[in-house]
Symmetry: C2
C-alpha cells in the first residue's frame, strides 16, 4: 500500500528527492511504495522535474501539510520561517517529518523535539549534516554502546573547498572565495559558511545526538576562515600540518548536577598531515567519532549537492516507511530512531580547556627575540614544541611557535606577556592545533 509523501520546496534538493521517488527502479523496493502526493513551490512557473505532474503542485505549503493524503512531510525549503511553523504544524497533525534544515534544527531543535515526543512522531534529519554521508543514523543506531569521547569533523564544504585551494595554490582567501562564488560552491552572501556559523549549527546537532541532550547553540565558540592569511597555510604546510575548519564536540566530564560537560567549538585548525581528516579535500565532508570501546571511526563523502542530500532525505523517508510496517497506528516510537534526549549538556568555560596552539608573531629582526618569547611562554608554564623564524620583510621577522597542549588560561597569560615585549609588533595569527 502506497505511503503518501508531501514535499515542502522544490529547489535542487526537493527536485532530487522527487526524481528518486518517481524513478524507483533499481532502488530499494520500499521506494516504489512511496507516492508523492503534493509539492509546495514558491513560483509554479519555474521548471520542475519532467516526471512530476502539474496537478501535484501548490503554492501554499500549509496545503501540503494539511492534505490528508500526505502521511510524511518532507521540508526542504530551508530558512527558519515558515519552515519551523510548518514542521510544528505537521507534528501537531501527527505526521512524521523529514527535514534537511540544519538551521531550524540547531536553533529550534528542543521545541521541535518536545512537540515530536508529545505527539509520538519522528522528526528525522539525516540530510541536515554531511549531505549524503550517513552520519545521523549511525550516531543514533550504531554507536549507542559507546561512551563518546569526541566528535570532530569537516562539515562545511564551501570552506573546505576554499582551504584546499589556498593550500594547493598559495592563493589568498578573497580570491578563492570569489572563484568559489562564480563556480557555485559559495553563496552570494557567504557569511554563514565562511564565518563558521553553518558548521556550528551542524556540530550542535551532532553533539546533541552523540551526548544525548540538546547543546546550547549560542554558546558555541565560533571562528571562521575569513581572516585566515595564506602565509599561515603555507607555514603550517612547512611544519607538517594542513589547515582545516574543524568543528569539535568533546566530552570533558560531568558537573555536580549530573549534566555532561562539553567543549563544543568551530575554528580553523592545524591538523598533522597523517591525521584521518587531513586528507579530506574540496567540497567533501568527513566526521570522525571517537568512543569507548569502538576507537576511531570516520564517515566520509560529499557534504552537499542535490544528489547526495536527496539520498539522505530519502533514507529518512524509507526509515519512517519501514518502521510503519512494525506496529499499527498505536505503535510506540523506537527510542534509537526517535533520538529521545536523555541527558543535559552544558558547555565548558573555554579558559579551562587544554589545546595545542600555533602562534605567528611579527617582531623586530633582532638577536635575542626568540629567547625572550621562549621565556614568556616558559614563565606562564606553556611548553613549546617548536619555534621557527621565517623570512620577514621590511626589517621585520616572523616567528611561529607551536605549543604543546596547554591550559587556555595559561596560554592567554603568555600571549599577554609576549605582546608587551618591546620587540614584538603584533600577534599576527593564532590557530588551534591538533
Amino acid at each position: 500500500m502506497a505511503i503518501g509523501v508531501g514535499l515542502l520546496g522544490l529547489g535542487t534538493v526537493g527536485a532530487g528527492v522527487a526524481t528518486i521517488l518517481t524513478n524507483p527502479e533499481g532502488r530499494h523496493p520500499l521506494v516504489a511504495e512511496l507516492a508523492l502526493r503534493r509539492v509546495a513551490v514558491r513560483d509554479p512557473k519555474r521548471s520542475r522535474p519532467a516526471d512530476l505532474p502539474a496537478t501535484l503542485i501548490v503554492t501554499d505549503p500549509k496545503a501540503v501539510v494539511d492534505d490528508p493524503a500526505v502521511e510524511i512531510v518532507v521540508e526542504v525549503m530551508g530558512g527558519l520561517e515558515p519552515a519551523r511553523s510548518l514542521i510544528l504544524r505537521a507534528i501537531a497533525a501527527g505526521k512524521p517529518v523529514v527535514t534537511a534544515n540544519k538551521a531550524v534544527i540547531a536553533r529550534h531543535g528542543e521545541e521541535i523535539a518536545a512537540a515530536a515526543a508529545a505527539h509520538g512522531v519522528y522528526v528525522l534529519i539525516e540530510a541536515a549534516v554531511g549531505g549524503g554521508i550517513p552520519i545521523i543514523e549511525p550516531l543514533k543506531q550504531s554507536l549507542g554502546g559507546n561512551r563518546i569521547q569526541r566528535v570532530s569533523g569537516i562539515i562545511n564544504g564551501t570552506t573546505n573547498y576554499i582551504l584546499s585551494r589556498m593550500a594547493d595554490e598559495g592563493a589568498a582567501y578573497a580570491e578563492v572565495l570569489a572563484d568559489a562564488q562564480r563556480l557555485g560552491y559559495a553563496e552570494a552572501d557567504p557569511a554563514a559558511d565562511v564565518q563558521g556559523d553553518d558548521a556550528a549549527d551542524k556540530i550542535a546537532i551532532l553533539a546533541g545526538l552523540a551526548y544525548g541532550g540538546p547543546v546550547p547553540r549560542s554558546g558555541i565558540a565560533t571562528e571562521g576562515i575569513d581572516r585566515l592569511e595564506p602565509r599561515d597555510v603555507a607555514y603550517a604546510a612547512q611544519l607538517g600540518f594542513v589547515v582545516k575548519l574543524l568543528a569539535v564536540a568533546e566530552h570533558m566530564g560531568r558537573v555536580e548536577d549530573g549534566s555532561e560537560l562539553l567543549d563544543v567549538r568551530v575554528h580553523p585548525t592545524l591538523l598533522p598531515k597523517g591525521h584521518p581528516l587531513a586528507g579530506v579535500h574540496g567540497v567533501n565532508n568527513a566526521i570522525l567519532v571517537e568512543g569507548d570501546p569502538v576507537g576511531q571511526v570516520m564517515f566520509f563523502g560529499p557534504g552537499a549537492g542535490a544528489g547526495p542530500t536527496a539520498s539522505a532525505v530519502v533514507a529518512d523517508i524509507l526509515n519512517i516507511a519501514g518502521i510503519r510496517q512494525v506496529g499499527g497506528p498505536t505503535a510506540g516510537l523506537d527510542p534509537l530512531l526517535a533520538a529521545t534526549s536523555w541527558r543535559r549538556c552544558v558547555l565548558v568555560d573555554s579558559t579551562r580547556t587544554r589545546h595545542r596552539n600555533y602562534v605567528r608573531l611579527r617582531t623586530r629582526d633582532e638577536a635575542g627575540v626568540i629567547g625572550k618569547i621562549g621565556t614568556c611562554f616558559g614563565d606562564a608554564g606553556v611548553s613549546i614544541q617548536s619555534i621557527v623564524q621565517f623570512a620577514g620583510h621590511e626589517g621585520a621577522a616572523e616567528i611561529v611557535t607551536i605549543t604543546h597542549e596547554v591550559l587556555e588560561s595559561r596560554f592567554r597569560e603568555a600571549l599577554a606577556a609576549i605582546q608587551a615585549l618591546r620587540e614584538v609588533q603584533s600577534v599576527a595569527a593564532c590557530l588551534r592545533t591538533l
Copy 2:
C-alpha cells in the same frame, strides 16, 4: 523492563560485549535495559570479566538458546558448527539473533535468512564486516534510495597490516607475516586471511545487502597476498600506486530473467595514491560505496579487535531492543532492518569484465623487447598507459606495463602472445589496477 540477553561464547568479543552490558553508565540508556541472563563458555575454568556472576555461566550453548529468560541470542563463538545450528535453533524459538560470524553468514546466509523470515525474527550482523565500523546498518538503512554501482573495500585487517609494512619497509611477505603472528595481528593458521577467503566472505555479505539478493559465495574469484613479491609493491610505489587487498562488488547490468549481474572479486590491487582507500593503513578497514545519486561515501575504522567488534554487536542488540518498543508481540518486521532480499544476483563471466592491469615480465636484456611486447598488446587491442623497464639482474630485465581498461579476454590473449615471445622468460606478476 529488562530485556534478557544470552551470549554464546566468551572469547575476546564476548567478553567485550559482557563488559559493555554490565557497565551501562555513560552509554545510551537502552543499554541499561539489557540484562545478561546466560553465557555459554567452552571452558568454565578460564578467566572471565570481573563483573560477570559465575551463576550465569553454562557450558552447553543450547541451554542459553533454550533459556526462557533469554530473549535475544548473541552468537560470538565463531566457526561454522555448532554456530549455524544454534542460530537456527534460536530462530525456530522465535528469538532474534545477533552474530559476528561472517563465515556462517557468507556460507549459510540464505538458509538463515529463510528461517528468520519464516519465523518473523531479526538476524543482525553488523559485527560480521568491518569490525566497529558501522557499514551494515548504513547499507540497509541509509542508502536505500540509491542505485548502488560499486562497493569496494579493504576489509581484512591482517593483510592490510602486512601490506602496509611491506610498503613502508620494503620487507618480504613471509617476514612480515611471521612478525604479525608474533604480535597477534595474524592467526597461527593465516590461510583464511592471506588467501583472501575472509575478505571474500565479507564482500559476499556486503554485496548481498547492497544489491538485495544473496551472492553465490563459491563463485567469487579470490586471490590473496601470499604470492605477492616486495618488488611489485616497490615498483607500484614508483609508478604512483599503493598495493591493497581489495574486495569489490560491482553492478554490471541485468540478465534477461531480471537477475542483477554482478562482478564480485577479491585480489591485490594497485590503487592510485590519491584514491580514498589508498590512505588506509595498518589494521584499519574502509568501505567505499558508490551509488546514484549519493556519489562516493566511505566508512573507515578499526576492522577488528575486541572493543570495536563488541561495539558493533551491542549496536545490533540495541536495534532489536529499540524496535521492540514499537510494536507488540504480533509486530511485523521493519523491511530495512530485516534486510529481506528482493532480487536475484548472478556473477558475471570474468572474461567479459574490463580492468586495468599491472604486468611484470622477466625478459632477456636485449634491444627491441619493449617494441615486441607493445606489439603483442596492440595486436590484441590492449591499450597501454605506461611501459617501464626496471633494473634486472643476471642478464635479465624486468619490464612493467600498466594497461588502460581492457576486456579481460583480450588481455589474456595478449599475455598468451607475450609468453610465446622468445625474449620473454616469464610473466612474473599480474595485478589488477584501479
